[in-house]
């Protein structure tokens, strides 16, 4: 059994039962695989849940990367295209995701499931940022630049949460939210008034 089949079966189990299987053994039984088979691929349900999120992310990227239009996009458009594709792909998992959301009482603890996805996203985002430096869409700033990826991660979480709550037709409001959020973020990290202000301040302080 492929890893993707196991992921699918696990989501299926959630959809039908609304909770985690009581044990790996119980989960494997109807699938006709042994516990050993399972553990060969995943060390725990936790790892499996993480892989579901990572899987969706990779699926979106795999669709975007070979696309010629995508390759011609600048950094900002790439990120936009990614979010649009991502929320599109999330749709197929919406019921599962809604169930996961209700599972965690403490807000924020669901982030545990997103760990491996987060690492992959950081990698992707830093590539986008590098491209932004090259085309002067993003300004490199001392100390602050390193935080850009974190910023984009928070943005991705914002998009996810917005989409989870979105009840509009075709999740149109999420599209609008993505557009506006990305516009704003790129305006902030572009060379802007703040840079000139700091530059001016430095000049006034150091000139003798």
């Amino acid at each position: 059994m492929e890893k993707s089949d196991i992921r699918k079966a696990y989501e299926q189990y959630w959809l039908e039962n609304g909770k985690q299987p009581v044990s790996v053994y119980a989960f494997c039984q109807p699938l006709n695989i042994t516990e050993a088979d399972f553990y060969e691929r995943y060390s725990s349900f936790d790892a499996l849940e993480n892989d579901i999120w990572l899987g969706i992310f990779q699926e979106s990227l795999a669709k975007l990367q070979p696309d010629e239009t995508y390759q011609q996009y600048d950094a900002q458009e790439k990120l936009l295209a990614f979010y649009f594709m991502w929320v599109q792909d999330l749709k197929a998992h919406r019921s599962y995701i809604l169930l996961q959301k209700s599972r965690f009482v403490v807000p924020g603890s669901e982030l545990r499931q997103l760990e491996t996805f987060r690492h992959a996203f950081y990698e992707y985002a830093s590539d986008v940022i590098k491209e932004g430096y090259l085309h002067q869409q993003i300004k490199e700033r001392k100390y602050v630049s390193d935080q850009y990826v974190h910023g984009f991660w928070l943005q991705a979480l914002f998009v996810l949460r917005y989409w989870v709550k979105d009840t509009s037709e075709r999740f149109e409001m999420t599209d609008a939210a993505i557009e506006k959020a990305v516009n704003l973020s790129f305006q902030l990290i572009r060379s802007n008034t703040l840079d000139s202000l700091i530059d001016f301040g430095k000049f006034m302080l150091t000139r003798k």
């Binding site: 239009t69 649009f84 599109q88 149109e172 557009e179």
Partner: protein, 359 residues
Amino acid sequence: MLSMDKGMLPKAYTEKFTMSQYSAPPLSGPLVVNTFVKTLGKTPAQLYDAFDMKASNAASIGQVHKASKDGKQLAVKIQYPGVANSVKSDLRIVKPFAVRIVGMNEVDMDKYFEEIETKLLEETDYKLELRRSVELSELCAHIPNLVFPRYYANMSSDRIITMDWLQGKHLKEFLETNPTQDVRNRIGQALWDFYQFQMHKLRKVHADPHPGNFLLREDGTVGIFDFGCVKEIPEDFYVNYFLLTNQEVLKDEQRRREIYTNLEMIHPSDSEKEIEFFSGLFQKMISLLTLPFTVDRFDFGDEAYFTEIYAYMDYLYNLKEVRDSKVARGSRHSLYVNRTYFGLYSILSDLKADIKTGW
């Protein structure tokens, strides 16, 4: 407030509303692609031979892109996502302003708001717009000097409309080319006939005579599109409304009051003094505004005529009795019908068109 003045209300109101949309930056390329994929299942590159990612101009709730397919130039209108959703909440924000501008009590205003809300919601429904565009363009195709684009249903969805790209200039730029009187007359005539035909024969009218919706051409023809705002005119409103253009009827005091009452311009709750007062104002206003209808030929280039109208409206606006009256005067249907004529008059006046107005 007077009913004839109401033509101003939707204008002030929709301008306020569209302003909030105008301030939105143009849609990003990925969002345009996303809208295509979501509503048509294909990317623009798959759908057209060429598609310009940069919008060529902004529509009130979307933007227009140029495209081509099979050697045909196309105009593709794309709606901003979320607009349909935010119409209601946006209206709620604007409402208090509108109430203050017009100075009417809120309950009375509600019938107008309802009318505006339905119209705005309809404008966000591109499927409906496509249907109406096709229908009305076909019905009006026989009118001389009008040009309608062809619409492509297979490349349209409820967020996208694809139509032929029309050549021509917007009113302002067109006038800068100093068109001859003959050309201006022909265009003016075509527009007049277009509205008269819709009003009297179809009882359904393109209610957005905004200069941006017409493309004027040197050969005396005019391209018409954007049937997003169409007012359907109920029979009894129609009958009463156009009785006002009948000089004979207006001479009969009794009949006149009856019509005013039917059009909700005076109310059973009005005192005799109020009826007297408002009827007087209405009569003067109506005889002014319906003048083109009562003659065979009318020169809209006659500046004295428009000066007189504006002066009278100014006078009404500053009249204490009118300002203090919080009662709404005029049926909800008059809102968009008046606005349509206001728009038409103002275009004809800019064109200085001398046209045959007898019907």
